[in-house]
């Protein structure tokens, strides 16, 4: 079944997430079906405290949303709350 598929993706972390994860990118083998599921998994692993609603996700350098399905080989970028200006 597709929902049980295990894929390899690259997770990239920025700003506070990078510091909390201790790395700017890592290879992840996951059963997560969506970007949001993957965030849940990684937030638990690295102690990310920010709610998904305040953060953003991009897949392969395009802004995406948390319900977007993941496929093998995707590069998933996790953006903590922005603070430009």
């Amino acid at each position: 079944m597709a929902s049980d598929a295990v894929i390899d993706v690259t997770a990239r972390y920025f700003a506070a997430f990078r510091e909390q994860a201790g790395t700017d990118a890592e290879r992840v083998t996951t059963g997560a079906a969506t970007a949001g599921d993957l965030y849940g998994e990684l937030a638990e692993r690295h102690g990310f405290a920010d709610a998904r609603g305040r953060c953003k996700v991009a897949i392969n350098d395009e802004l995406s949303d948390w319900t977007a399905p993941l496929k093998h080989g995707d590069v998933v970028l996790f953006f903590p709350p922005v603070a430009g200006g």
Binding site: A49, A51, D61, E62, V82, G85
Partner: protein, 153 residues
């Protein structure tokens, strides 16, 4: 009409020279400067980080939205990354239009949207030596700065 991320000092004069046009009667510019305090904390310096490809794409989209919503002639924006000291220019937005109302409204729209949507992050270095990412719930590490109100300007 373009949005840039720059790791070298912003040059407001060079940017403003892109705005003139014989049809333009109004020019409004906004500059965000690093100030010495944020919500009561004394700030020494700031560090900005961006994801450049998406920051440029999103910033350019915001400029295009402004051009659609308001009757403007031209609009440009640039955001600095790297370490900045008090008084340094962190962001510049400039708009020209036939009439001043559209120039003010568009300039404000652009900076408001940049602050909420463009993937740029700000780490504040406080006088006491601590540092923290603005707007982030940083959990165990660093200073907790969880307020939506925390903004440079």
């Amino acid at each position: 009409m373009s949005f840039r991320i720059s790791s070298t000092p912003i040059d407001p004069d060079e940017l403003k020279r892109r705005l003139p046009d014989a049809h333009a009667g109004a020019c409004v510019t906004f500059e965000g400067w690093v100030r010495d305090h944020n919500e009561g904390d004394a700030v020494n310096a700031l560090e900005y980080e961006a994801h450049e490809p998406i920051a440029v794409a999103e910033g350019t989209k915001i400029l295009a939205e402004a051009a659609q919503r308001f009757d403007i002639v031209a609009a440009y924006g640039e955001h600095r990354v790297g370490r900045l000291e008090i008084g340094d220019c962190a962001v510049w937005v400039g708009v020209s239009a036939a009439h001043r109302g559209a120039a003010f409204d568009a300039c404000r729209y652009i900076i408001d949207e940049i602050k909420h949507r463009v993937p740029i992050w700000k780490k504040e270095h406080y006088r006491g030596g601590a540092a923290g990412w603005v707007n982030c719930a940083t959990g165990a590490s660093g200073t907790r700065r969880d307020s939506e109100a925390a903004e440079t300007q």
